[in-house]
Symmetry: C2
């Protein structure tokens, strides 16, 4: 499991949560250094803005020629601890070298 990821990371995904932004930046850089051509940043709810920060920091400061190949938004139903179901927004940002 990569340093900055929140869950058991699927393939080339970095799950952006509530940790400091640079954790996720580092996790993504690690994925690229392991030979991947694309990294998918995934986030839900309030972490969505942090995922955009991660993408922008990677592009502007660390990896030249990195571009957002696709950005998708969606909605997921999540069960709260009290058993209620609430909707949360999601984002997926596919970053690749141009």
């Amino acid at each position: 499991m990569a340093a900055g990821s929140e869950k058991g990371a699927a393939e080339n995904a970095v799950y952006v949560g509530t940790k400091p932004v640079m954790n996720y930046v580092l996790a993504a850089i690690t994925q690229f250094n392991e030979g991947g051509n694309e990294v998918v940043l995934k986030a839900r709810g309030k972490a969505i803005s942090r995922a955009v920060d991660v993408a922008e920091i990677l592009r502007n400061r660390f990896i030249q020629g990195l571009v957002p190949k696709n950005i998708a938004i969606g909605t997921e139903e999540v069960q709260t601890e009290s058993g209620d179901k609430i909707n949360v927004s999601t984002i997926e940002i596919v970053l690749g070298k141009s």
Copy 2:
């Protein structure tokens, strides 16, 4: 100035800030009812996740056939009150009827 917008709204843009989500949902619905085919949701920093919420609520609850035509992310330099310059992430979500 539309009810939910933060700044003097340019053309068909809705600037998503710190007000309740439904303010911006209403502002966007108003734009569509005035005859527009597209609405652009714009947000910076922590308001980015709220902009995604606005888009998803519009799509899932209010306007049938509404799809994100384009989603762009970027970085803007902002001057703080103390004169420092900081970078903030931005998002633009173009919503249109399919």
